[in-house]
Amino acid sequence: MTTHYLVLSVLLFTIGAVGVLIRRNAIVAFMCVELMLNACNLAFVTFARQHGNLDGQIIAFFVMVVAAAEVVVGLAIIVTIFRTRRSASIDDANLLKY
């Protein structure tokens, strides 16, 4: 009954994951992360419905709140990097290494 929702969730998650892995543009990668989060939300809500309790829905709200906060911080960082380096490619921002 809920299989379709879960399949959709998996598809969305996979698209998001692949996007994060292959796209260089920071904004796109960021969107893909959001996609993965929302895929998870979908799965949570689905399971909540399946089990007939509210736990999954509550967690979905938590995820949304965290995602919103993350967007604020993340976008701010991306904009700052873009301002200083004139590039939004995440492969260019590789100074933090060994």
Partner: protein, 632 residues
Amino acid sequence: METAEIIQGAGGAIGASWLMIALPLLGAAILLLGGRRTNGWGHLLGVAMSLGAFVVAVLSFVQMLGLDDSRRRQAVELFDFIPGMVKMGLLIDPLSISFALLITGVGSLIHIYSIGYMSHDPDRRRFFAYLNLFVAAMLLLVLADNYVGLYIGWEGVGLASYLLIGFWQHKPSAATAAKKAFIVNRVGDFGLAIGIFTIWTTFGSVAYGPVFEVAGEADQGVLTAIGLLLLLGACGKSAQLPLQSWLLDAMEGPTPVSALIHAATMVTAGVYLVVRSGAIFEAASTAQFVVTIVGVATLLAGAIIGCAKDDIKKALAGSTMSQIGYMMLAAGLGPVGYAFAIAHLITHGFFKANMFLGAGSVMHAMNDEVDMRKYGGLFSVMKVTAITFGIGYLAIIGFPLLSGYFTKDGIIESAMHVNPVLGWLAVAGAGITGFYMSRVMFMTFFGKRRWAPDAHPHESPAVMTIPLVILSIGSVFLGAYLILGNRLMLFLAPAVGRPADLPGFHPFSAPGLTTLALVAVGAAIAWAKYGRAEVPQVAPRGSFLTTFARRDLYGDALNESLFMRPGQWLTRIAVFFDNRAVDGLVNGLAAGIGGTSGRMRRLQNGFVRSYALSILFGAAMVVGALLYVGTL
């Protein structure tokens, strides 16, 4: 062996005999701690403390003479040293008091002599401090009533010897000789220490009285082991083969030191140890036999070395080795030899100290020249020294009726009874003694003057010659006094037991006459070569035998190739091993971990997407694991 019982709680002078040790020790402490403030009167304090000890020794001796034979072994309890193991105390008996008299008596004379001998040395105070320290340690060695006390004194005299040999420590040769003496002695101490351990584990005590009482009941093998271990200690201290090599180098010390420590007292400690431990040696005949072998070997080796030395002190040192060999031989003969060993020890203490001090007087006059080839004809300029030295010389070669004659003859006679081979070897040694001592005498005091151009020999001051005179008087009469009528043997009997039948005095026995003849021959050869003939200023190359003797029978070469070189290699290998192998392992481990993490950190490449990939892998693995666990 029948000895008198030890009586506890002595009184009178014997009860106060600890003063003998305490006084010189106090003197040493004052002089060392007082520093320069005591420079002015330090030597006087040193002499006073030594004389004080002598007075206590004499008073104890007098008190002992007034007692019955059965009451002549008195114990003085001092304090509990190691609870449950060692109670420190003194044992005043005929044996220890004989030594105490010799040490304090000859010691005091040498103290007095040193006032003159060291008068120009800026460090004279320190010298007297060390001398006092030596006297205290030596007295502890002979007076202690247990092996641990003896061991403390034993190492104490080793320390004093170290300090005094190296007294002129700015000379590298002196410092090296001092170190060598201490280390070789420690090899002996190693044996002595293990001997004491074995005594403790066998008898559960280290005190003489209880141990000797039951000594005979112990296992034969154990007793032999104890005997041989004690003998190793004795060999170290008394410069017997195979630990003889330090004594000749020890002549680097000031001459009074050579006289006191390396002739009269310390080097005889080994003889004391063997005689004192008589109960153990008598129950272990193998060990006893080895003692006589060591004694004979050393008496010959020392005599041969003495023949080839041009350094007057080294010639005398060779002779000391040889004479102690005689004492060892006697000490290994059992009760019949003990008294002769001690008698020879006492007379030797006199005549050898006499000769060493005489040599010091000569050196004093000759600007510290020690090479006899640069002496000659000194008789006319230093009559007192020459005559007293001559008396010592006659005594040591066994000139009839002088001290050495009686004591050495006694040793040879008793050796003949036990083992004729040993006896005849001892006779041969006496002949060689006649040669090399005559050589010293003639090269120094007779013949042509071969002095260095700036030498102006003169007689030494009275403070130096009076001790010489006193010692030479002892060299003349002491032997006859101690031996005739078995006086010393009967006196020592309560301490060391008395032989089944007392030896008589046989002046015209075959060995006695042979000895005299050989000595005369030796002296005649010496006269021909060094008295009448011209002595070359530079030593001739000499035969193989001469080189052999000159190089101390290759003892040093042997030690060097057997112990020193391999030891140096071992040290280098060990240091290398420690730095490279042990530490290298640790550092290698550290470097390995460091290297691995150095490579591992390359994973942290700064590309966010590669991190994301590894996160994905990680998450996939976790999920996979969960699924797998779910199927179980």
